[in-house]
Symmetry: C2
Subunit: 124 residues, 2 copies
DNA sequence: TTGACATATTCTTATATGGGAATGTATTTA
DNA sequence: TAAATACATTCCCATATAAGAATATGTCAA
């Protein structure tokens, strides 16, 4: 069985690099489809298809005006993703602390195992 | 052309729900494969395959000990994902402010367009 | 050495894409 | 109304999975 549809899972929707580019591009301001096509250099049908996916998971919104459709990133829809990745923050902070601690232990070990001159070795 | 390989892109790797579960499970402490199988109720070959994907993008690490292999989440590898989603934070904060502002405007409009009694309408 | 245990890999299969080309659908303008 | 503009959709196809079943590999225990 393949993966859950991109059209129902935001995590899956942002798995596609082009879609991430589009989201970044549309975060600053709303844009018509044509702007995305020329700015990001993606074929128009591809852009439309990506936008369809992004819209189906609520990552972008549309505003219609005549024959133009203005898309913009719905930043709030990205928040849950940010929060999920954020649940690991305490763990990477702990990891960093451990690395630092080990480095310091190693450093002090070196300092004590050599004689005084070692302290001056680094400045020739 | 399909998407970039799950084995090279962390965003793609976490697009699979089972793998997110595994990452969460392995964030707290290292575990042998069998623990994942029983705790998350996923077939052993599937677990091995998911772990292979996660390992190939550096999201988990292994420690071998006899016939056991202990896996753990490398939280630091999740950090870039957290940072990418975090680039949208300023935008969703702005969105929230706008929503709030509009709500307040609407509220004050209501207050001024109705007469005093309106303020007591809500407590019968 | 022979099993028993813990994981990994291979093979098959059903399915979900993503791109390219062509076509469809509104909407505006001449 | 006809042509042009802006997007969306459809069809085809090569490819990347993910699950399931069977099998392989590696390690410890009797």
């Amino acid at each position: 069985m393949p993966r859950a549809a991109t059209t129902s899972d935001p995590f899956n929707a942002i798995a596609e690099p082009r879609r991430r580019e589009i989201l970044t591009y549309l975060a600053i301001a709303e844009r018509p489809v044509g702007d995305i096509v020329t700015s990001l250099r993606i074929d128009q049908p591809s852009v439309s298809k990506h936008l369809r996916v992004l819209r189906s998971v609520g990552l972008v919104r549309v505003r219609c005006d005549g024959r133009h459709k203005f898309y913009r990133t719905d930043a709030e829809a990205i928040r849950p993703l940010h929060e999920w990745t954020g649940t690991f923050e305490r763990y990477w902070q702990r990891q960093l602390l451990n690395v630092k601690k080990r480095a310091e232990e190693k450093a002090s070990q070196l300092n004590s195992s050599f004689d005084q001159p070692t302290a001056f070795k680094e400045k020739p």
